[in-house]
């Protein structure tokens, strides 16, 4: 009733291949973009940006990156935190070494560097599979964090061992450093998010995506059919690393401003992003957004309800949060392995028929 797809005919294969083949979806998508770019920036304040919007946007990019690796290519990685750290430190070194180049390019190059590092740690995926590989990626996590902690070159020999984002501008407007405006940082990240989602969608609907999914669903058959497993896996690691690196760079430069590697990019970060894509939906770009939104909002809601309204101690609410997140993960794996994205699809199905049950 509210959601129609009948009468929406395609007359060419290129139309049939669109990201949103159904008109009502397409309109909705443009509307969301319009609001995100033209309305939201005027309604923001510092609290909203720092508590919700920036983490949501940045984690969305990380989730898209990890989803390509885990959800599309079936290679489970527990090294996301470490790879985000690569992005952050690469961005920091670039920002301090080449201060004249626009930060926009720093972030992209940082993503590229992370992609390369990711490929190096992804090479063993040719020999080892499944949770063997998952555990192997822990090597990346711990080694990288140790590296950034122990080798002073990475933090420019600063006394604290931290890295601090210098002030940088885009079109004369500051996006990093202490004196940023909420709307500027928001828009800066939003551009990256939209571009990442678009690229990820293009890749996953084309031949590259099909090769990834073939490897995920049945790697031996995929190889016999003609998928080069080396190329498919390595490209998944590279693309995934690229996005994760960008999110790490933004996380450091725009969101936190100052980073201590063990704290910001520890193993818990790896799990957080993994949980986002499980809850959001493995193998779905929309799911990456849904999962990121969910796990960014959950602690905020819990804090508002638990600490502010009920007056419970903070640490107890934090423990409660662990219980809830862990429980949700199990619940989703049991009830809806395709996550929030699938729930959304089911809802759309229901809306299409509403008010009739069948």
């Amino acid at each position: 009733m509210f959601y129609r797809e009948a009468g929406d005919f395609k007359t060419s294969y290129s139309k049939d291949n669109q990201t949103f083949p159904i008109k009502i979806d397409r309109v909705g998508y443009y509307l969301v973009l319009l609001v995100a770019f033209l309305v939201v920036p005027f309604m923001l304040n510092d609290y909203w940006v720092n508590a919700i919007f920036l983490p949501f946007l940045i984690y969305s990019i990380a989730a898209i990156g990890l989803n390509i690796l885990v959800g599309y290519c079936g290679q489970v990685s527990l090294g996301t935190g470490g790879f985000m750290a690569v992005g952050a430190y690469a961005c920091y070194k670039l920002m301090t070494t080449f201060p004249d180049i626009n930060i926009f390019f720093h972030v992209i190059i940082a993503g590229g560097i992370t992609g390369l590092v990711c490929v190096v740690f992804g090479l063993p995926s040719l020999r080892i599979k499944g949770f063997y590989l998952a555990v192997a990626t822990l090597a990346a996590q711990f080694f990288l964090v140790w590296l950034f902690n122990r080798v002073p070159w990475f933090y420019n020999y600063s006394a604290s061992g931290q890295i601090n984002a210098p002030e940088r501008t885009v079109f004369g407007i500051e996006v990093t450093g202490a004196n940023t405006e909420a709307w500027a940082t928001y828009l800066f990240c939003l551009v990256f998010v939209v571009a990442s989602a678009w690229i990820a969608r293009n890749l996953t609907r084309g031949m590259t995506g099909r090769k990834w999914m073939a490897i995920r669903d049945m790697d031996i058959a995929a190889e016999i059919i003609g998928v080069n497993p080396l190329k498919a896996k390595i490209s998944a690691f590279a693309v995934s690393g690229f996005f994760v690196g960008i999110s790490g760079a933004l996380f450091f430069a725009v969101y936190l401003g100052a980073v201590e590697v063990g704290e910001a990019f520890g193993i818990t970060k790896s799990f957080l992003v993994l949980f986002m894509i499980i809850i959001g939906g493995l193998g779905s770009i929309f799911g990456s957004f849904a999962g990121a939104a969910f796990l960014v909002l959950l602690p905020v809601v819990l804090k508002v309800v638990g600490v502010d309204m009920l007056g419970w101690p903070t640490d107890m609410v934090a423990h409660l949060q662990l219980v809830i997140v862990g429980g949700l993960i199990i619940l989703f794996l049991i009830l809806e392995p395709h996550g929030l994205a699938q729930l959304w699809r089911v809802t759309k199905q229901k809306l299409r028929l509403w008010p009739f049950p069948h």
């Binding site: 690229i199 031949m207 073939a214 049945m218 059919i225 998928v227």
Partner: protein, 271 residues
């Protein structure tokens, strides 16, 4: 053997020269010999069957052809050249496509995506072009989609195009798998028990598809099958294997009257 002349069959199809030849293949798993010293050839445009009782080494033979198993001894000649040791995906790139005994479809993907995956050989746009969905990637996608739609029409699976493969019944899955292999426009199509577990109607459909494929596209087909009636009707020539050895080779009529074959297989199975 490899310089045979082309000839025309009774039903008017042209059988060309040898396209693939297996020479003295021996395959061992540890101490077990799966295949012992087998030689045979496949000619262009023919339907070649490999038959034999369970455990005769038929599937192993197919796996050798598609590069999944590397034989300890023997040579594979393809299009007049000796094939160097290569990975399965390289064999596929040379134009050898196959289906699997236990259906190896990509369950998380739609029928369309599965069949499109078969066209890896024809699609090679760069990552960057694919990332922005412009230029070569877009053109390639549409051109190959057209080719795939033809195959989808041919195999009569239009209605399930956008259905995830995991939800399909067995018979349809077999057909989708055939579509995926056919989409590669292979020089040789290997079919591993294409009719296993099917009822009579489905078998009839599948036989029709195999014959049509061979007739319309001129596809060379090598197949393994248990159903003797089907094999004898479909194929131009038959290789018979037993305990990893070749015990017969020839037209269905020749094989039918071969005493070794009757003893080993036909006599037992069809009494």
């Amino acid at each position: 053997m490899s310089t045979q002349e082309s000839y025309v069959t009774e039903d008017g199809r042209t059988i060309g020269p040898t396209v693939m030849e297996m020479k003295n293949i021996t395959l061992r798993f540890g101490g077990v010999k799966a295949i012992t010293d087998i030689s045979f050839d496949i000619r262009e445009g023919e339907i070649r069957a490999i038959i034999g009782p369970n455990g005769a080494g038929k599937s192993s033979m197919l796996n050798v052809i598609s590069g999944f198993y590397v034989p300890q001894e023997g040579e594979v000649w393809y299009k007049g050249k000796k094939r160097p040791p290569m990975k399965p995906y390289q064999v596929a790139e040379q134009g050898i496509a196959r289906t699997f005994q236990n259906i190896a479809l990509f369950e998380g993907m739609t029928v369309l995506d599965n069949v499109m995956t078969g066209r890896i050989r024809q699609m090679n746009a760069g990552l960057l072009s694919q990332a922005i969905w412009k230029g070569k990637a877009e053109k390639e996608e549409i051109a190959n989609r057209e080719a795939v739609e033809k195959i989808i029409d041919f195999l009569e699976i239009q209605a399930i195009r956008k259905t995830p493969v995991g939800r399909l019944p067995y018979g349809l899955k077999k057909r989708v798998e055939l579509a995926r292999a056919l989409a590669a426009e292979p020089s040789i199509l290997l079919l591993d028990e294409p009719m296993a577990g099917m009822n009579v109607e489905e078998k009839e459909d599948m036989s029709r598809f195999i014959l049509d494929m061979n007739d319309e596209f001129g596809t060379t087909i090598a197949l393994i099958e248990h159903d003797m009636g089907v094999v004898m009707d479909l194929s131009d020539r038959v290789v018979v294997m037993d305990y990893g050895k070749k015990i017969g080779d020839g037209t269905p009529d020749e094989v039918r009257s071969n005493q070794a074959v009757i003893d080993a297989y036909l006599g037992v199975a069809h009494d």
